[in-house]
């Protein structure tokens, strides 16, 4: 049995590709479990989609290849939400509002704040509560 892995992807759909049922094929043809964090279609009819895919590694690779055959930009780093470590003051205000612990205090002695990207579900709470404009959304 092949091991299942989870990968985070951020997809950008230009106007012409927005209406294609790509997610359907990921599930149906590549046997992937899909967990969509965030999706948005802009007024220009461009689309953004941030999702986790879970399945056999070779299926994920084939699925990424399949998505690549469309005019879709794949950002495998999946950074829909970014945190700028140099700009962060370490105030900790975001920490209690982050539902998953992605933003957390890494050391209670020095009260340093750190960001665990893997845990981020892109709820955008931190973007609103950070007083120093440290967190940003790609879309």
């Amino acid at each position: 049995m092949t091991e299942t892995v989870t990968k985070k992807l951020m997809l950008f759909f230009p106007k012409c590709e927005c209406e294609k049922p790509i997610i359907y094929h990921l599930v149906k043809d590549y046997d992937l479990v899909v967990n969509v964090f965030r999706a948005k279609v802009t007024p220009e009819e461009e689309g953004y989609l941030v999702l986790d895919v879970t399945g056999a590694e070779e299926n994920i690779d084939r699925a990424v290849e399949f998505v690549g055959t469309f005019n879709v930009t794949i950002n495998a780093a999946g950074k829909g939400v970014t945190w700028d470590p140099d700009a962060c003051t370490g105030c900790g205000h975001c920490v209690v509002h982050c539902p998953t612990g992605a933003l957390h205090i890494s050391d209670r002695a020095t009260m340093e704040v750190a960001f665990d990207e893997e845990k981020c579900i892109e709820c955008l709470a931190c973007i609103r509560v950070c007083p120093y404009d440290v967190c940003a959304s790609a879309f």
Binding site: C91, G92, H93, C94, M111, P131
Partner: protein
């Protein structure tokens, strides 16, 4: 017993023994108070957080022909021009022109005076727009130009209130989310926020104002500044706990420093959703170890400092003076506090990690002989209380 002069001589010769207010705790415990007091010259304290009572005085120099600015905006943020011709005062909480504020609450408050100050220190190019009624010697009626901090003759930060000695822990007992200067407070006491560097905080390490006074040299966002007055709302009187931590009113400091010497890391624009804009600024204050008593009070620990838990849905806005209880900074920094038997997660608005960095930077500057202390020429009052604003009829 040491004098300011002896301490400064040791600093100047590069021999001063300097520790942060965090390091000194264990050091004194190991060494004993008397021996440590003889050895240690300076303890550094620090704080970093939003300081709403902040602003700056800018001098633009004269244009050709000259203008006597009667209204001025920097990056569309209104500056006060009721000073000399090309002097303005820009306040940290001033909103950018046309910001919808809380028209559709809670507002975002993206840019204001604090951001202008941060951009200035960061060396960015900013727009000045000014109007005038025109006079014989200042004929120009309107000016629009661009400048950086290097183009200004002076850019001086003033903090009429900084380094609050102690502060509330904010909580929200109502059934709707509050957006305050203490951050986002979820309904039904689901979180709490505090704002102090606790055991690193300047006036908690000199709670009786024995060394920090008017004229004391301070580190303000990287510049060498000073205490120019007692801070606004300074209330040195009132109760103290067994460690001299204020339980009622608190002391504050008014600080000033040259923005041209400041580091952008410690001058930051603040946007608080639903509340407004402000300035995040870092300050460090050195405490000369004149005698064992001064040192003893520098050994204050987070567990000895308590802050009142205040309901920002009713007791704070209505100034009832009621508190829901007290917690120590040790509990606050653990990330959870107990409120009426319920565990409540806590966050903060001030940054302990930045305060620690400032205390270390200041200690390094003093050790290297670059930062001398100055003896205050007036002490802060220890017997005053804060007066409320009374709404009354004219008496005469």
């Amino acid at each position: 017993m040491k004098t300011y002069q002896e301490i400064n001589d040791r600093i100047a010769s590069g021999k001063a023994v300097v520790m942060t207010a965090e390091e000194i705790i264990d050091y004194v415990e190991g060494k004993g108070l008397e021996a440590a007091a003889a050895e240690v010259d300076v303890v550094t304290t620090a704080t970093f957080g939003p300081m709403c009572s902040s602003g700056c005085v800018l001098n633009f120099g004269h244009s050709k022909p000259k203008i006597r600015m009667s209204e001025a905006w920097v990056e569309d943020v209104l500056a006060y021009t009721g000073l000399a011709a090309v002097d303005v005062f820009l306040g940290a909480t001033q909103l950018r022109h046309n910001d919808p504020a809380n028209m559709y609450p809670p507002g975002e408050f993206r840019y204001g005076g604090g951001h202008v100050m941060a951009d200035l220190v960061a060396g960015k190019e900013l727009q000045l727009f000014a109007l005038s009624y025109g006079t014989d010697e200042y004929p120009l009626r309107e000016i629009r130009t661009y400048f950086t901090i290097d183009d200004l003759n002076q850019a001086v930060m003033v903090n009429p209130r900084n380094c609050y000695q102690n502060y509330n822990v904010a909580i929200n007992c109502s059934d709707r989310t509050l957006w305050t200067y203490m951050g986002k407070l979820e309904a039904d006491c689901k979180n709490a926020n505090y704002c102090s560097a606790g055991q690193l905080s300047p006036l908690l390490n000199d709670p009786l104002y024995e060394t920090i006074g008017v004229g004391s040299s301070v580190w303000l966002a990287g510049a060498h500044g000073h205490v120019y007055a007692e801070g606004t709302q300074h209330a040195g009187g009132g109760g103290r706990n067994e460690y001299d931590v204020p339980t009622g009113g608190s002391g504050t400091l008014a600080l000033s420093g040259d923005m041209k010497q400041m580091s952008p890391e410690f001058v930051r624009g603040v946007s608080l959703v639903g509340y407004g804009v402000s300035l995040g600024v870092g300050a460090g204050v050195p405490i000369p170890i004149l005698n064992p008593g001064v040192l003893k009070r520098c050994c204050i620990r987070d567990e000895q400092i308590v802050a009142p838990i205040t309901d920002y849905s009713s007791d704070y806005p209505n100034a009832t003076g009621k508190v829901l209880g007290h917690v120590s900074y040790k509990q606050l920094k653990s990330g959870k506090i107990d409120v009426d038997g319920r565990e409540v997660p806590v966050g903060s608005l001030s940054s302990y990690s930045k305060a620690l960095k400032i205390a270390e930077l200041l200690a390094a500057e003093i050790r290297s002989g670059d930062f001398l202390l100055s003896q205050p020429y007036a002490m802060l009052p220890a017997d005053t209380n804060m007066k409320p604003l009374k709404v009354r009829d004219k008496t005469t």
